[in-house]
Amino acid sequence: MSVSAGEVRVFAQYADDVVETAEVVVVGSGPGGAIVAKELAERGRDVVLLEEGPPFSLDDLEIDPALSMSRTMRESGLRATRGSVMPTMQAICLGGGSLVNSAICVRAPDFVLDEWCERYGLTKTTRADLDPHYSAVGRFLGIAPTPDEVQGRRNLLFRQGCDALGYSSEPISRNVRGCRGSGECFTGCRARAKQSMDISAVPAAVRAGCRVLTSARVERVTGSADRAEGVRGSIVEPFTGRVAGRFEVHARRVVLAAGCMATPVLLEKSGGLANRSRQVGRNLRFHPGVAIVAGFDEHVDPHFGATQGYQSLQFLRDGYKLEGLWAPAAVLAVRTRGFGHVLKERLAQLPHSAVWDAIGSCNRSIGEVRVRRRGLDPKLLWRLHPADVPILARALYTLSEIAFAAGAHSVVTGVPGVPTEFHSLDDAQVLRNRSFRPSDFQTGGNHAFCTTRMHGDRERGVVDEFGRCHDVANLYIADTGVFPQCPSVNPMWTGMALAHRTAGLIAESL
């Protein structure tokens, strides 16, 4: 039974194998893929959107973090890099990472775009080129600064500390409408305030006639080395991955937006497609994140307020960005040191604590996505480069500075070999004075990019700056893999702006 225009098919509905034909097939419904599908469908193009994960209805959103991670994330949320061991999460659900992320939207700064253009032979990726695309996406998703009413004490203390030190800070712009300040973006927004792709771009695409096949895992791009003809793969049961059927979609244009870990694997599994440059899967970069827990006398009630509501962009050129943060207590506590009564005492401080994080623009720390013989899960190799380590140490110092300026009585960084708790800024000087090894930092890397990077020179990049593969004229990539370097700020909005531009190019080409 073929899928009708504007239909969303879910696992329970697949009776037979599926064969569809479309003008454009888009693989992956994360921020990149969903924006491409919506834009093309709204321009009257015939689009099929394929997503391996299921859509999560409100009934399916699980607040328990362990169960939520098992259901919404690949490898149950326990994926990690080898080399420097760092957890990294990628979603498997309609909406991709946008279902579980904090909705932070920041435009890549001018100096980043300038550097991208200069170093990667790009001529049409300037501020002026991208701003219209940022704005179009921003209007659609209602991206706006977080109002004070939903900041919560944890974020406001961050502002207070920055103000006291004269550091710039600002409310974070987010793709939300009517945020209640529940601080639970990580397990999916029960208030349906976060404009994740499953409730924003995908329904818009469907309204415009896009066909959406969920539980559809693409395993191969079909066609020849020069021309893609479509994709094929398996219908897979949510959570178990049990194969229940096959599908094939024939299309004039193929867009891969499976995320920067999955797209290179798909290209490799499709016979080493689009890889004359030999850059597919290489250049993997992250924004490794570090965090502090600041202890206050007052009740902070850190689980109230926007998950991430305030930020400081003051240190972007020094390689780090600072933010307020909340995640389920279980997730945060995994990094709390000790056991027994000591651990209990530390956990009991949570209501008086504010958690703030920093992400590092670690461009020297490079890794790669490798293909496993079986399955589509990637093997991730990545090492934190010793030259990037001082960025993280400085970031932790600045966060400690802000905490003490905001009135904290203690700061915990989790870095081994320094006092478990700092009680004054003097204690924190060790972060400035000591040299650290990469293994000293417990980092997490949920911002990942560059594995199918854009480059003006076809010998040195997989796609051009419009996301078009250099080697395969009708194959496009629209996920964060196309970034040439770290964006220095949260990547989603830049990924969507680039995807918006790619959609325009595809529409014109049809």
């Binding site: 859509p55 098992s70 259901r71 939903v150 349906r192 995908v202 009630d301 209990k344 949570l350 209501p351």
Partner: protein, 210 residues
């Protein structure tokens, strides 16, 4: 004969003497359940800053549910982790008398000493074993509604904000017939009511422990 006896004794130390887990435990075997209960009570002993112990918080039961949902290869890794810590003391004994017993058969002081050994080892891989085990136990401990209530971080009740997507997607495992939302249920999400610190708890987290 002698070798047979030694093998029998070794098998007894590894396999025998675990009480059966509660009937609702589906994935963990009795040995794994026994180990997790002992480990949870070592990492989260009774009393102190948070009243619930690992057993009170049903850490082993919660881990059973979780392990039933994780990817199969991770389930194997988790089981290996439990096996390793449970039986390491058969080769590297705990301090004190009768230290050559599996972890769950040691007394509380010995378990604490063994756990410290893992936690403070100068060998990175040993510390990693401890951190992985503690991560599993902590995830489960802090999933217990009573613990979250005591810490004051239990999730609040949130009025669902139905939107257009809820007319499109049935609950996972069901077809479109299962969609119960009607267009008139949709809410204007632009008009939020900020969640107050004293907002009622989500019903799943509000009930006192049975």
């Amino acid at each position: 004969m002698c070798a047979g006896l030694v093998a029998l004794l070794a098998a007894r130390r590894v396999w025998v003497g675990y009480p059966p887990p509660p009937a609702h435990v589906r994935v963990l075997g009795r040995r794994e359940f026994g180990f997790l209960t002992a480990a949870a009570d070592t990492v989260f002993p009774p009393g102190g800053a948070i009243s619930a112990s690992g057993s009170d918080a049903e850490v082993a039961e919660r881990t059973d549910v979780w392990i039933g949902e994780v990817a199969p290869f991770l389930r194997v890794l988790m089981r290996l982790l439990f096996f390793l810590v449970e039986h390491a003391t058969l080769f590297f004994p705990a301090p004190g008398r009768r230290g050559f017993r599996r972890f769950s058969s040691l007394d509380a002081a010995q378990r604490e000493a063994v756990m410290s050994g893992w936690a403070e080892s100068s060998l990175g891989p040993r510390r990693l074993v401890f951190e992985s085990l503690r991560a599993v136990l902590t995830m489960s401990y802090l999933s217990d509604p009573a613990v979250l209530r005591e810490l004051g971080v239990a999730p609040r009740d949130i009025e669902p904000g139905y939107c257009e997507a809820d007319l499109l997607f049935p609950p996972i495992g069901h077809g479109p017939d299962a969609i119960r939302i009607e267009p008139e249920d949709l809410r204007d999400v632009e008009a939020p009511a900020t969640l107050a610190c004293d907002a009622p708890l989500d019903p799943r987290y509000a009930a006192p422990r049975a």
